[in-house]
Amino acid sequence: MSSFRIFDIAGSALSAQSVRLNTVASNLANADAVSGDAEAVYKARMPVFKAVSAPGEVGASVQVLGVVESTTPADRRHEPGNPLADAEGYVYAPNVNVVEEMVNMISSARSYQSSIEVMNTAKDLALRTLTLGK
């Protein structure tokens, strides 16, 4: 029965959004993790989504192609007292934009919720179809 494809599609959206929530959590947790090396400092991570549909299928599920790191340069600060500072007294802060991460968090939570609703409705209808004529 094709209605079970809905669970695959909505399920793929749930796992994709949870990857996105994970990267948001990781970015926010490391937002203040400074380093003395511009290369070694934490860089904001974000998932890349792609729509995939099997041949002959009408619906498309969503797949996480991978997690990429932001290429924005790290924030350079002069903090000679910091034990992590380099020879010139500079530390490098991660290029995490906290406001952007909060917006991402809300957006992914909303998408997660709407996929849950889709699944619930599909489940109710499938159950009603099973009890047809009873």
């Binding site: 029965m1 094709s2 209605s3 494809r5 809905i6 599609i9 909505a10 793929s12 959206a13 994709a16 959004q17 996105r20 989504f49 792609k50 729509a51 549909s53 009408v58 619906g59 498309a60 599920s61 969503v62 957006s107 992914s108 909303r110 998408s111 709407s114 996929s115 609703e117 889709v118 409705t121 599909a122 209808l125 009603r128 179809t129 047809l132 004529g133």
Partner: protein, 118 residues
């Protein structure tokens, strides 16, 4: 199975088409954050007429019957999914599915009454 089945009318096919439609809308919602994804839907009347002509049911629903959603608010990443529209359409498809279920249920019950004579 003909489109106008003697016992169940169009409701058997209506169920299959609405469930396909819900699948499509679920994939639009799943890809609401995918850059470049274009929302699609199907025309119920057209697909039903097609299924009636070929007599093949909805198994032969090809991707040519799918239509792209007209964009209300364009976005910079090329995604044309409007979550509110999709949720409304999903609710509508679910309601129509339930309506067809109700008709089928009533039909089965009246046939059972006729068969058992009670």
């Amino acid at each position: 199975m003909a489109a106008t089945d003697a016992l169940f009318g169009i409701h058997g096919q209506a169920l299959a088409i609405q469930s396909r439609r819900m699948e499509l809308i679920a994939s639009n919602l799943a890809n609401a954050d995918t850059p470049g994804f274009q929302a699609r839907d199907l025309d119920f009347r057209e697909v039903l007429a097609q299924a009636g002509q070929t007599g093949a049911g909805t198994a032969g629903l090809d991707t040519a019957a799918l239509k792209y959603r007209v964009v209300a608010q364009p976005s910079t990443d090329g995604n044309t999914v409007d979550v509110q529209t999709e949720q409304a359409q999903y609710a509508e498809a679910a309601l129509r599915y339930q309506a067809s279920l109700g008709f089928l249920d009533g039909r089965i019950k009246s046939m059972l009454t006729a068969l058992t004579g009670q």
